[in-house]
């Protein structure tokens, strides 16, 4: 028997040891420097703690007195989320097909990817500010915002799913002389359907959450109610709204989880 080694180490991520240590040291010193150089005004922080105490003190006990307003706001958020999910998913399907490298011609692919990148690059709050300027305060701006938000997520995930399909099924349809659309419907839709349904449910869930946020900048829904409550120092009402939002999200999370488990 020839002599074989009895120790083994996993090869390091960066082969050059000098470079490796330089990178580690660089990262650590940058983080330390950032922490040290960020302007934190400790006097203000101390002030703020008092203010925070007042807010939380004022918030207890939560007040459900104006529950009519609360319910109206919540229902409006639900409507915004539903409409935006329906519109966003409907638009996402063709965009996802455009953005799937394995079935779209190159120019179409770039166009599809561009739409997704633009839809993803802005946070919903920024999109909402633009739409509130464009179409005025209210739920319509919220719906448009969340449609853009839905496309950014659903179209991207769906395009990735389309790129992972078993192409043999497409080949079988092509070999039978099937036209383009029939091929999509028979060989691709059945393969992406479970993911499509799962994504739609997840997006509804996500839109409901986001609709509360974009409401704060004037795009309607319970977020608007919450912003108003803060504006008028009604912290107890604000806490009630927050509790309802958290409750609604917990419920939708549970329901969507259950449905996704069933179809998975």
């Amino acid at each position: 028997m020839s002599q074989v080694p009895d120790t083994w180490r996993k090869p390091p991520f960066i082969a050059n040891r000098w470079l490796r240590w330089a990178v580690y040291l660089g990262v650590v010193s940058y983080v330390v420097w950032v922490g040290a150089s960020l302007p934190v005004n400790w006097a203000r922080v101390a002030d703020g703690i008092g203010r925070a105490q007042r807010i939380f003190g004022g918030a207890f006990p939560p007040s459900f007195e104006r529950s009519g307003l609360l319910i109206d706001g919540f229902l409006e958020s639900l409507k915004i989320a539903l409409l935006a999910t329906a519109g966003g998913v409907a638009l996402s399907i063709p965009i996802a097909f455009m953005a799937a490298r394995n079935i779209a011609p190159l120019p179409i692919y770039y166009l599809g990817r561009a739409i997704i990148i633009i839809a993803r690059s802005f946070h919903p709050v920024i999109v909402a500010i633009i739409f509130v300027k464009a179409v005025g305060f209210g739920p319509f701006a919220g719906v448009l915002t969340l449609i853009v938000y839905s496309i950014g997520f659903v179209a991207k995930m769906l395009a990735e799913r389309i790129e992972e399909i078993d192409f043999g099924q497409v080949e079988a349809m092509r070999a039978a002389g099937a036209p383009y659309l029939s091929t999509l419907v028979y060989a691709i839709f059945p393969q992406i359907m479970p993911r499509q349904i799962g994504l739609s449910i997840y997006q509804l869930d996500s839109n409901l959450r986001a609709s509360a946020v974009v409401g704060i900048v004037g795009a309607g829904g319970i977020g608007a109610t919450l912003a108003n409550a803060f504006g008028r120092y009604d912290y107890d009402f604000a806490l009630a709204i927050t509790i309802v939002i958290v409750g609604a999200i917990l419920i939708s999370e549970g329901v969507s989880g259950m449905i996704r488990k069933r179809i998975g």
């Binding site: 079988a172 092509r174 070999a175 039978a176 002389g177 099937a178 036209p179």
Partner: protein, 258 residues
């Protein structure tokens, strides 16, 4: 009649996978193509229905030149060429009936296909063929609930639904156990006789090729080096077909070229 003349297929800038290949298949014979992996069997089959684009040469099926077709004409030609795949390539999440009817997609409108409104005679033919291969009772089952042999039967019926003038089978039994494999080979041979259909089968199992087919074509790295009745395939011919490796063959060519 399928007539292939001077067919060349080259991927990228490398050596050709098919080298000036000629092959004629007449009447309703069952022909098997044998050869080691990388010999170009699959590429040859896929060139016929243009799942792979031939580089040059001619492929003629019953008078139609296939290599120059585009768009609608290509689809119309493909309807006449049935194909059976090694991995079955069924749509797992659809029912057996939908899978079988997908062989008719080239004939029916997209709208009828989407609405699953299949013509009466197509449904009747589907039941007849499924009865023939013994899967009619699975019509409403999802394709992924079936066993391998049953799935390949669906694949065969799907191809036959096209009313093909020729059937191509790309290693139809490679994913099956030996017994099921023999059943499928027997089925292909019998159906070829019943439907008066020429069948071209890529196969690794030489014993099965000898038993179930009328003619054996031996390929070695892009060329046909044997073409005769099964009885003539002796040890010497076998050695020639399976000796060496595609890599070695390639380097020989390099020497010739330089």
């Amino acid at each position: 009649m399928l007539k292939i003349t001077d067919l060349v297929k080259r991927y990228g800038k490398g050596n050709p996978v098919l080298k000036n290949l000629d092959l004629t298949i007449e009447g309703e014979s069952v022909v098997s193509i044998i050869g080691s992996s990388g010999a170009g069997k699959s590429t040859l089959l896929r060139c016929i229905n243009r799942l792979v684009e031939p580089t040059s040469g001619s492929i003629e099926l019953n008078g139609t030149e296939l290599t120059s077709l585009h768009g609608r004409d290509l689809r119309t030609a493909r309807r006449k060429i049935g194909m059976v795949f090694q991995g079955f390539n069924l749509v797992d999440r659809l029912t057996v009936m939908e899978n079988v009817q997908s062989g008719r997609l080239g004939y029916i409108s997209t709208w009828s296909a989407v609405m699953r409104r299949y013509p009466k005679e197509d449904i009747r033919r589907a039941y007849e063929l499924m009865e023939r291969v013994g899967i009619a009772h699975y019509a409403n089952k999802r394709a992924d609930e079936l066993s391998g042999g049953e799935r390949q039967r669906v694949g065969v019926v799907r191809a036959l639904m096209q009313n093909p003038e020729i059937l191509l089978a790309d290693e139809p039994t490679a994913s099956l156990d030996p017994k099921t494999s023999e059943q499928i080979m027997g089925l292909l041979r019998d159906l070829a006789g019943e439907l008066k259909l020429p069948v071209l089968i890529n196969i690794h199992n030489v014993t099965e090729a000898k038993i179930y087919t009328d003619r054996i074509v031996g390929m070695r790295y892009g060329r046909i080096i044997f073409d005769d009745v099964p009885d003539k395939l002796d040890q010497e011919a076998m050695d020639q077909i399976y000796s060496g490796s595609p890599h070695a063959d390639r380097s020989e060519d390099m020497k010739e070229a330089s």
